[in-house]
């Protein structure tokens, strides 16, 4: 029951995308996410999808691994789509039954919003699929460096983050073990009403919490024993360096961003009319 939660788990292959600098990937992911909110034409969505496809191919990821991340939020996507479809009342009515109406504007908005969500999740999951958690938190730390001037403990935050990330798989494994052990004693997690199910989780959650505290305690001891302290003078084992590929990646994503902006503010949907004619 806990198996499929591994959202965008790192997919270990060697590719151009995997080798990109984590900082660049973080910045570009943010750029991509912002760009998606500017898309509002079908042409724009096609462009985004094509761009994503290109990245997936370059990263040598199987389509399935990307779609899995979408599956994790499928419920939200479907829920939002249904609400949108029936709640928007502008435009010409295409279908109605009692007090429910579907208008053409609603159909278009729903399709666009669904596309936007799916592309957004796929794009964001590419980051975690191609970058190890350690690289991500190192990249974050590096990007947050300017905050040091306003006395933000950047290193500590990064350390907390990497420890948290590091222990996610451990906790999942541990949860699996405890679930198995309680199942072996006849516990069932998928029968009964809501309250019964919530109660059934107690035999899992209590040991999980107890063990987490124990583990945190042990880790703190181990770090202390090695004289860990978060001073400014710590050096990195892997020093991050920008390479040509990183610069190229930056320009490609910038070009994509500009194309999206042009489509929205310069062509204003003209390309849609050109491609789909009367449909839009």
């Amino acid at each position: 029951m806990f198996k499929d939660i591994a959202f965008g788990q790192y997919y270990p292959v060697d590719s151009v995308i995997h080798r990109l600098d984590a900082r660049i990937k973080l910045v570009l992911t943010v750029m991509f996410v912002v760009a998606i909110f500017f898309v509002n034409t079908y042409f724009g969505f096609m462009l985004t999808a094509a761009f994503l496809l290109l990245v997936i191919l370059l990263a040598r990821l199987p389509m399935l691994s990307v779609l899995k991340s979408v599956r994790a939020v499928l419920f939200i996507v479907v829920f939002a789509a249904v609400i949108n479809l029936f709640m928007i009342n502008e435009g010409t009515v295409l279908w109605s039954w009692k007090s429910l109406h579907i208008t053409d504007t609603a159909v278009h908005t729903t399709i666009k919003m669904t596309l936007r969500l799916v592309l957004l999740i796929s794009g964001a999951s590419l980051l975690s699929l191609t970058t190890t958690p350690v690289e991500i938190s190192d990249g974050m730390e590096s990007l947050m460096k300017p905050l040091k001037f306003i006395k933000v403990p950047v290193h500590d935050i990064a350390m907390i983050m990497s420890i948290a990330l590091r222990f996610i798989p451990t906790l999942f494994e541990e949860t699996g073990k405890i679930v198995s052990a309680q199942k072996a004693r006849g516990a069932s997690f998928d029968t009964g009403g809501l309250i019964a199910r919530a109660k059934a989780l107690l035999p899992v959650l209590i040991p999980l919490f107890v063990n987490s505290f124990r583990r945190a305690d042990e880790l703190a001891f181990a770090m202390d024993a090695r004289c860990y302290n978060a001073t400014d003078k710590r050096t990195k084992m892997k020093v991050m360096k920008l390479r040509v590929a990183d610069v190229i990646a930056f320009f490609v994503v910038t070009a994509f961003f500009v194309a999206i902006l042009l489509d929205r503010y310069y062509f204003v949907g003209a390309l849609d009319k050109l491609m789909f004619g009367g449909l839009v």
Partner: protein, 296 residues
Amino acid sequence: MSAISIKNLTYVYSKKTPYEKKALDNVSLQIEEGEFVGLVGATGSGKSTLIQHFNGLIRKQEGEVVVDGLDASKKKSLKNLRFRVGMVFQYPEYQLFEDTVAKDVAFGPKNMKLPKDEIDRRVRRAMEVVGLPYDEFAGRSPFELSGGEKRRAAIAGVIAMEPRILVLDEPVAGLDPAGRREILELILKLKAEVSPTVVMVSHYMDDLAETASRIVALKDGRIVADGTPEEVFGDREKAAEAGLDLPTAAKIVDALAARGISLEKTVVTRRALVNGLVKYRKDKSDGNTKAGDENV
């Protein structure tokens, strides 16, 4: 009817991903009622995967698993199966969760939907058997017990279901020698009093040689040795091939052989070693007297 009957079982983790791993490869195994099976093998050899098939925690992919007459692949028989196969996981003390020992031990019997007085009877019995007197420990929190007591409380939680088959995954891991002996004695007691069939995973060859009636060795998901401890450890070449460490007694036999004192290779327990040495000395002194007689 065998207690556990496994035929051509194959199991692959994370099929069709880069993490794919074949944990079991065409394993067949019959375990009869009353046997004490020691399951050995290096980390990742498939031991844990195999034992989790016994009570349907892992659903079989290929092959056949029949336990105590129940088909483990049928969803309907799963619950029943779990009550008949008591499974004690590694470090079972990390699964305690209730605020008193008695409540925690009662978790299994409660899930079996037994009447209240039967639950009480089983909780009392289980706690007495594992050596946690009911009157002293029932009301205490499992989190304030000592390490060994916690482990025994957790084992009590499993045997309170009075399973026909008891499966233990490294029950002595992380215990000191005294604690280890206590748990082993407890397991033998449980076999005699509660669960006639026992399967124990362990890395301690000494423990297995002393307690198990049969050793099954796994390597890379295949069974590479199967027989009594004397047979398995007695065949040194096969044992080495299976990647098995030898029990101390067998190591001493080999060391003695290097010094010219030859004992049976099937000596694998302390008792057999002592008997063998006594016999050796007796034979030798008999021989000496004989030789002396000739001299006179």
